[in-house]
């Protein structure tokens, strides 16, 4: 992975190895095209660039492949993704979830592409910034709430009143339900953000061990093999997590939509 190695002046001296490795450097946002709209910094940053790339990759995957009856390999990748999310939505939402398929599918594909592109060395992980994931989560939260009120009217507020509860406990439970409802966007966004950030920091820290052994002299170099092999395993784990977190985000979106759409189970 992309270890932020040192500028030449910090280069390790022979023997006395000092390497300046900063695992947080990868999360730095810098403007590529400075844009200033009325005092608001709306620059085109590296984050924006990688968001565009993620959207572009998804669009290419789904649109560029020729749609044949017998799918080509590229086309079947897109079809597998479509089927995967369609089945997941059918399991959770039933038929009522059909109108929301494009939304959830877009969300899933964008997060998946952003997470996976983050695994490319020297790239930037868009979803490792809380503001990006929070923006996605608040859209889901506000959207699901609006859908709930449109579908059920004021009756949507019954979501906060669990049925079959002793009347004494009710005031306490309503408070708990309301709090848990309003922490949904926070937990949804922090889950994705923390996973991405922690995972990538961990990768860079372990990559730093490899570099440190490498520059510590020939005698130490074979020891660097251990963290290197660990790195390979961790990279595999991170790719799994990149997929899982996109899936979890989509599943939780469906569960929140389910609360709004099918209140009387």
């Amino acid at each position: 992975m992309a270890t932020e190695a040192t500028a030449p002046e910090h280069a390790p001296e022979a023997g006395g190895a000092t390497v300046d490795l900063d695992p947080m450097h990868q999360f730095e946002i810098y403007p590529l095209v400075p844009i200033d709209i009325g005092g608001i910094d709306a620059s085109f940053t590296n984050s924006s660039l990688w968001m565009l790339i993620a959207a572009g990759v998804v669009a290419l995957l789904l649109l560029a492949a020729p749609s044949k009856l017998v799918p080509t390999r590229l086309q079947s990748v897109g079809e597998v993704a479509y089927e995967f999310i369609a089945n997941m939505m059918r399991d959770i939402l039933g038929e009522s979830g059909r109108p929301f398929f494009p939304f959830v599918f877009t969300l899933f594909m964008f997060i998946l592409a952003a997470n996976m592109l983050g695994m490319v060395p020297y790239s930037f992980t868009v979803t490792s910034h809380i503001i990006v994931t929070f923006a996605l989560a608040i859209v889901v939260f506000v959207g699901a709430t609006i859908v709930g009120f449109i579908k059920n009217g004021p009756g949507y507020l019954r979501l906060f009143v669990p049925s079959g509860v002793p009347i004494v406990l009710l005031p306490l439970l309503v408070v708990i339900e309301v709090i848990s409802y309003f922490t949904r966007p926070i937990s949804l966004s922090v889950r994705l953000f923390a996973n991405m950030m922690a995972g990538h920091t961990m990768l860079k820290v372990f990559a730093g061990f490899v570099v440190m052994f490498g520059v510590a002299g020939a005698a130490w170099m074979p020891l660097g093999l251990a963290p290197f092999l660990l790195m390979i395993g961790l990279t595999g784990l991170e790719i799994l997590i990149a997929f899982l977190q996109a899936y979890v985000f989509a599943v939780l979106t469906c569960i929140y939509l389910n609360d709004a759409l099918n209140m009387h189970h």
Partner: protein, 75 residues
């Protein structure tokens, strides 16, 4: 105690959250395995739920990491 030292101790304490995540992940995989060995035919269908549970549990440990980062860098 100096505020700086207290910050570092607090951030370290926040890492204890990982103990809960470890117990949780162990529970999930252990119970999945127990269930899968009893009824191997049903195991495959529950594999997505296993991964979902794993991801949800793992995230709770990472909330502890976020607390540690807030302690270290915000205050």
């Amino acid at each position: 105690m100096e505020a700086e030292a207290a910050k570092l101790i607090g951030a370290g304490l926040a890492a204890i959250a990982l103990a809960g995540a470890g117990i949780g992940i162990g529970h999930i995989f252990g119970n999945y395995l127990a269930g899968a060995l009893r009824n191997p035919a049903a195991a495959q269908a529950q594999f997505p739920n296993l991964l979902l549970g794993f991801a949800l549990t793992e995230a709770t440990g990472l909330f502890g990491l976020v607390v540690a980062l807030i302690i270290l860098f915000v205050f």
